[in-house]
């Protein structure tokens, strides 16, 4: 985006020169000053990959990405951009301070570990006893067919440390799935986002809960009856999950970790959905049998 804007400005300058050289020379100074107020004099990045944005740009990014991601929830890039544009002011600082208040959180901020398929030894995780955090996590990855590498890098948060907090949250998201056992289907995702919102207060997670409006009616009812109350209750009651040093918890029993954090496992969404599907099929068959009988 930065590059394109620069190019446009250069093109305008060239065109001006081509058309009216004298006038361009006269207006060169004021016009360059005018541009200097906009995005052309971007400060240098604070960390590799950082894109400094002005407040207006951030607001525009938030509105645009927010609307578009509501329309198409599969656009992970837009959700990520929305998360970053709305994390400041306040929210990401609050989350960082929550980390700084905990010895483990401080250690994470100091080490700045990244979760990737290379940083985690996936075959080793598969060899861990069932019920351990690592095994649950890898089983979850295998079942959902996702990889830890699908997380994009943070770009729009100005403070390097806060950018890392957002990155960490994003990379830990898969562990939250493992911790709660919620699947990546839209319904599970929305329930997990509600849990995260209550726990981290990040605005993006709150907005994602509105995606519940796009669920099927039966799913929406189930979300309202079971998963939303579960998410809010557990999200608020549990310790800050951002402070879990997952890399050190891989061999622990997931039930023990849940108890430590104060998270109750929600009813298994996959089981419920399977039961309901079977129920529907059975009813259909009965109906068919009755129809056939008549």
């Amino acid at each position: 985006m930065e590059v394109t804007l620069r190019r446009t400005a250069a093109a305008i300058a060239r065109n001006n020169n081509g058309l009216r050289p004298a006038a361009a020379a006269l207006t060169a100074a004021p016009s360059s000053r005018h541009f200097s107020l906009s995005s052309l004099t971007r400060p240098p990045p604070n960390y590799p990959g950082h894109v400094p944005l002005t407040r207006i740009e951030k607001a525009a990014l938030a509105i645009g990405s927010g609307l578009m991601s509501l329309r198409d929830p599969r656009r992970g890039d837009l959700i990520a951009a929305f998360a970053e544009a709305t994390a400041t002011p306040y929210f990401i600082y609050r989350l960082r301070d929550a980390m700084l208040a905990s010895p483990t959180g401080r250690r994470i901020l100091r080490d700045r570990p990244r979760i990737t398929s290379t940083s985690l030894n996936l075959p080793h995780l598969r060899s861990l006893p069932p019920g351990s955090v690592g095994r649950t996590y890898v089983a979850w990855l295998d079942r959902e067919g996702v990889s830890p590498d699908t997380r994009s890098a943070v770009r729009y948060i100005d403070d390097a440390e806060c950018a890392y907090v957002m990155q960490r949250y994003r990379e830990c998201h898969d562990f939250y799935h493992a911790l709660t056992g919620l699947p990546v289907v839209r319904e599970g995702e929305v329930a997990l986002k509600a849990f995260e919102f209550a726990n981290t207060l990040l605005p993006m997670t709150g907005l994602s809960v509105f995606a519940a409006a796009t669920l099927k009616r039966s799913e929406r009812k189930r979300f309202g009856d079971i998963y939303l109350p579960w998410a809010l209750r557990n999200g608020l009651r549990a310790a800050e999950v951002i402070n879990v040093y997952w890399e050190e918890q891989l061999e622990r029993d997931v039930g023990e970790l849940r108890r430590e954090l104060g998270v109750e496992p929600p009813p298994d969404l996959r089981d419920i959905r399977k039961r309901e599907r079977e129920e529907r099929r059975r009813r259909k068959e009965e109906q068919a049998a009755r129809d056939g009988g008549v």
Binding site: D97, L100, A101, P103, R106, R110, A160, E161
Partner: protein, 489 residues
């Protein structure tokens, strides 16, 4: 015999008759010991008590009064107090220019070791949660003719030692030091005098001093106040003031002639770095008793790091550092990398702490119901105890003393008995409301800034920024603080 003297007293000055009376008494003393009567007995040889005696002795109108000073400590030691030029006591107070001019008026200022007194001209005060800031700096051309000094930082011992030297120079004060006050009670009626309504101070060793006016300058737990039955009301802040003498990396950003005082309001209490001569500073850090005892237990390296952190890092970081038993230095250097700072607005880095100067004392608010009773007056901490956040405790005491000395001068000049409530009333009426206002303001400031989050935090920041932006309002506050503005309080 007594009637003869009384008749004569119309023609002889009072002090002469008194001395004659004493001589006669001594000559014809009967079996019962004659009471030792003083015009003023001051209990407590701190800054307030000593200033009062100096003021009385220095004024020709009150110089003839018979004065006694009672102090539990050895005053000879205080008078000969001496420290090398690179060492400073940890108990320092700020003296406003009006206190300093009063001390000058009574001739004590020149007896202070002036090269140990540090004037400061600017102040930086900010909110540790939001960073909202008020900068008391003199705009070019806006400096008042009376001088740009906001206050002087001075060791309390330098002041008491200077006052003692001045009292010695003036002479005429009976000093009873190393003396414990056993009890204070009313006197008895003898054939000569009726002292049933006069306080008598009983010292250890049997000495008894009868007082026409008993002055309580004996601190927060004043025995004089309890004798007078005056209640002191208030509350404890559940905070301790941690003090220390620090060595800084330099003389301050403004060099030797432009010194700045810094104060940051943290949710646990304000922390202040006040300049002393050279590259020294004195620290006053109000914090919870737990944090205070942790600070006192730290190694010098970790203590310095925590002090530097107090002016730089977020309250969250500080809270964490207070939970550490050691390793603050390392934690500080890590967090400093991630904390954006404007170095000109914070004190220079502390590099050393003078050994044995880290100490703490509990903070409280107390205000006596009244300052005066029949033949009793309270001054200084005996009358009021204030939160140190505005550095006004000692100055309030100086204000009391100035006012009480004036009331005594008036009473003497008009032939009144200096001990009666009527004579003391001007003192109480001049000082009580002023002190009460200042106590209240400091108390509310403490409470306002103890809030770590919630709607009050942005509101107080908006307020502070607004005052900072309003030039005339700010210079009004600065002139008030320096005591050279219009007299409002």
């Amino acid at each position: 015999m007594n009637t003869a003297i009384r008749r004569r007293s119309a023609y002889v000055c009072r002090s002469c008759t008194q001395s004659l009376q004493r001589q006669l008494r001594r000559t014809y003393a009967s079996a019962t010991a004659q009471p030792d009567i003083y015009d003023v007995v001051c209990v407590g040889g701190g800054p307030a008590g000593l200033s009062l005696l100096t003021a009385l002795r220095a004024n020709p109108v009150t110089a003839h009064l018979r004065i006694a000073l009672v102090e539990a400590q050895d005053l000879a030691k205080t008078k000969s107090w001496k420290l090398p030029p690179n060492k400073f006591s940890n108990r320092c107070s700020s003296l406003t220019p009006s206190s300093a001019s009063f001390l000058d008026q009574i001739g004590a200022w020149s007896h202070l070791e002036r090269d140990r007194v540090q004037a400061y001209q600017e102040m930086q005060v900010w909110d540790g949660v939001t960073g909202a800031r008020i900068e008391f700096d003199w705009a070019p051309g806006a400096a008042p003719a009376a001088g740009t000094t906001i206050a002087y930082m001075n060791e309390n011992l330098n002041l008491t030692s200077g006052l003692l030297k001045r009292i010695e120079e003036l002479g005429g004060v009976s000093v009873f030091d190393n003396a414990k006050v056993e009890k204070i009670a009313y006197g008895e009626e003898t054939e000569d005098v009726d002292l049933r309504e006069w306080p008598v101070v009983h010292l250890s060793g049997g000495k008894q001093l009868s007082a026409r006016l008993l002055v309580g300058a004996d601190g927060a737990n004043s025995p004089v106040r309890s004798f007078a039955g005056i209640e002191a009301r208030g509350w404890d802040y559940n905070r301790h003031g941690v003090v220390a003498t620090l060595e800084m990396e330099g003389e301050g950003w403004g060099g030797e002639h432009l010194k700045t005082a810094y104060q940051r309001f943290l949710p646990t209490g304000p922390v202040a770095m006040l300049p002393l001569p050279g590259n020294h500073c004195t620290l006053v850090w109000s914090t919870t008793p737990t944090n205070a005892s942790r600070l006192k237990s730290l190694s010098a390296k970790d203590f310095i790091a925590t002090v530097n952190a107090a002016f730089r890092l977020s309250p969250t970081d500080l809270e964490y550092m207070h939970t550490q038993e050691s390793g603050q230095a390392e934690e500080y250097s890590w967090r400093l990398e991630h904390t954006p700072l404007d170095y000109r607005t914070i004190p220079q880095t502390a590099v050393g702490v003078q050994e044995g100067t880290v100490a703490s004392f509990p903070l409280k608010l107390r205000h006596a119901d009244t300052y005066i009773a029949e033949r009793v007056a309270l001054v200084g901490d005996a009358a009021h105890t204030i939160h140190p956040l505005a550095g006004q405790g000692l100055n309030q005491g100086q204000g009391d003393v100035q006012s009480l000395a004036k009331a005594i001068e008036y009473a003497v000049g008009h032939g009144q008995d200096i001990g009666v409530t009527m004579a003391l009333e001007p003192y109480a009426s001049e000082r009580y409301a002023a002190n009460h206002l200042l106590l209240g303001v400091c108390d509310k400031l403490h409470k306002l800034y103890s809030v770590g989050s919630g709607p009050l935090v942005p509101l107080r920041s908006v307020g502070l920024n607004a005052v900072n932006a309003l030039g005339p309002l700010k210079s009004f506050f600065m002139n008030q603080a320096a005591g050279n503005g219009i007299k409002v309080f």
